[in-house]
């Protein structure tokens, strides 16, 4: 076997093929290994992108893409003519931005507080428990929330007991719905968001703290002048990267929590696309709204990765 391959190598050297071909010959197994992924991506990721032309059509399922009428940008113009669509865009921005801000601050604070816990047993147990909700589906969480946040659910019982207030309709009140969405999102994800910050804190050289202590720094000063600055690069990376999610308010969550009572403040782009297209048959319009969202998201993600690279020297691979 060995002699055959070496003979082949000699032959390729002699015949002076282009470097491309030599390269491929040498590392052909690597190309073969990438092939399954390549095929899947071509079909299931790039395939649907072809379907985006529907955004410029008056798409009719029985006519197909080739038979449907081209209508230029009319679908996109309708996005800004329909009140429901503009409302969904505004809701998406408000919910997503609130989620991003709260979703960055809470894990940082929780990571710092948790790192102050010296008892290893308690620390590990708390960690294990707070990661758990991340692995529950939004269907499960919605099931829990509908029960707990109901008019006679646990939360209202506690509120009535503490403040004597009337029961609050958390999932049916347009003024409260966004808060409910943001708070439940934080509940579900803060533990998981903490992981990277905890690792960063664990990686801080203990001699910094010793030096600070010798200089007479209180614990609060140590957190302010040692812990926070050490976490800063990671905070910058995560904040800039989350910029790309500005149009992602969380379909799974909102879809499972909302109802017609709260469409005015809770309907987001993704849920609107679902209702207007798959339920009401406006395929072309739904695709246009989706493309509008993907396009802006793409620009934001590219910008955010550039910023993360520039300010925190972050590379995705």
């Amino acid at each position: 076997m060995g002699t055959v391959t070496s003979a082949k190598k000699v032959k390729t050297k002699i015949s002076r093929r282009s470097p491309w071909k030599t390269e491929i010959k040498k590392s052909w197994p690597l190309y073969v290994l990438c092939l399954p992924a390549f095929v899947f991506v071509c079909i299931f990721s790039y395939g649907p992108m072809v379907g985006l032309v529907m955004a410029f059509q008056d798409y009719k399922p029985w006519l197909g893409i080739s038979g449907s009428r081209w209508i230029g940008l009319a679908n996109f113009e309708r996005i800004f003519q329909y009140d429901e669509a503009t409302q969904a865009i505004v809701n998406t921005l408000v919910i997503a931005v609130s989620k991003i801000i709260v979703g960055i601050i809470v894990p940082i604070i929780m990571a710092i507080l948790l790192s102050e816990i010296r008892n290893i047993g308690i620390k590990k147990s708390v960690q294990t428990l707070v990661y758990l909700p991340h692995f529950l589906s939004w269907v499960t969480v919605a099931g829990l929330m509908i029960d707990i946040l109901g008019l006679d659910g646990g939360v209202n019982q506690i509120l009535t007991w503490m403040f004597g207030s009337d029961p609050i309709y958390f999932l049916g009140d347009p003024d409260l719905f966004r808060y409910t969405v943001v708070v439940s999102d934080v509940w579900k994800s803060f533990g998981f968001g903490m992981i990277v910050y905890l690792a960063t804190i664990a990686g801080i050289n203990p001699s910094y703290y010793e030096a600070a202590e010798i200089d007479g720094a209180t614990r609060r000063q140590q957190i302010r002048y040692v812990t926070l600055p050490s976490m800063l690069p990671m905070i910058i990376v995560i904040s800039t990267l989350s910029l790309g999610n500005i149009l992602d308010a969380g379909f799974d969550q909102v879809f499972n929590l909302y109802n017609p009572l709260v469409y005015s403040t809770g309907d987001i782009i993704d849920t609107y696309v679902y209702r207007s297209s798959l339920l009401n048959g406006q395929y072309g319009f739904g695709t246009a709204v989706g493309l509008f969202k993907s396009g802006i998201s793409l620009i934001l993600i590219v910008v955010s990765y550039r910023l993360a690279y520039k300010y925190a020297n972050y590379k995705i691979f």
Binding site: L52, I148, L298
Partner: protein, 289 residues
């Protein structure tokens, strides 16, 4: 010594209390669910159940497991999770190993994969593609479209890159092929990474509900999460207007609780074993110098 100051002690007490509360807050809702599932109808409708079953009985579980729709949905979910995770991990480890090496066209290929993370065709075009491929109403509609995930690929590539090159070179000299190196050196050594990504994919499949509703025209073919969505969420939406009257809807609460709990159980069971891996996996995948 800050540990001994009064201020720090007071802070510590509050901090311990707060952290324990935070931990409990993430766990008590599930305990509440478990208590409900084991309680009597009367206790639930009387709002007497908090974290301990009142009027203990297992009727809800008996009914859940005698419900053929529930069992069928569970079977669909199990098949989909096993099949989906196997296919995904095969595709991803092959590509991940290859892309952790330097070769001609490697960066172009990587960007070709990563672009799918940045831009997608969206809901309607994906739906039409799956339908036109004839996958609708088959298990493949749930397994194939999501089989490749660029984020998971990046995690695996980063993991494979941490394995010392010298190991591979030594194996090459001993005459090992790429495939032998992948299976005998890389797979065992990157077990934390592979376990992390497998866990993500498994949980993703188990929890995934929307594609079931989208691609299965008949509710009897739903996977468990889609089944639950229709039972737990949609039925509640319809009852919302009359949620104060604790009639029919409330009497089913113990069954709903049992169904949610059973569907969550696999995750709760598998989670402690994989937790030690995923913390390491996430950190290695995300933090790069």
């Amino acid at each position: 010594m800050y540990h001994k100051t009064t201020g720090y002690r007071v802070f510590s007490i509050f901090n311990y209390a707060f952290m324990i509360l935070a931990g409990l807050a993430c766990f008590l809702p599930l305990l509440h669910l478990l208590a409900q599932s084991l309680s009597s109808k009367a206790a639930i409708s009387g709002n007497m159940v908090s974290f301990w079953p009142v009027g203990f009985n297992v009727d809800a579980y008996v009914k859940t497991f005698n419900n053929s729709n529930f069992n069928g949905a569970m079977l669909t979910s199990i098949i989909r999770t096993v099949l989906g995770t196997t296919i995904s991990m095969f595709i991803l480890t092959c590509a991940g190993y290859a892309l952790s090496k330097e070769f001609r066209g490697r960066n172009a290929l990587m960007w070709f994969f990563i672009f799918t993370m940045l831009f997608s065709g969206g809901l309607i075009p994906s739906y039409i593609l799956v339908t036109s491929l004839g996958l609708k109403d088959t298990i493949w509609a749930l397994v194939l479209p999501g089989a490749f995930g660029a984020y998971n690929l990046i995690l695996l590539v980063n993991f494979f890159k941490t394995i010392p090159k010298a190991l591979e070179e030594a194996a090459f000299i001993d005459g090992a092929s790429f495939f032998v190196i992948l299976s005998k050196i890389y797979l065992p050594l990157s077990l934390p990474g592979i376990a992390t990504v497998s866990l993500f994919i498994m949980v993703g499949h188990w929890n995934s509900w929307f594609d079931g509703i989208l691609y299965m025209s008949d509710a009897s073919r739903y996977p468990l999460a889609s089944f639950l969505q229709t039972v737990v969420v949609q039925s509640n939406m319809q009852n919302m207007a009359m949620s104060q009257s604790e009639v029919a809807a409330m009497s089913e609460q113990s069954i709903k609780a049992a169904q949610i709990f059973v569907s969550t159980l696999p995750i709760i069971l598998v989670y402690p074993f994989l937790q030690r891996y995923f913390v390491k996996g996430i950190v290695l995948g995300a933090v790069k110098e």
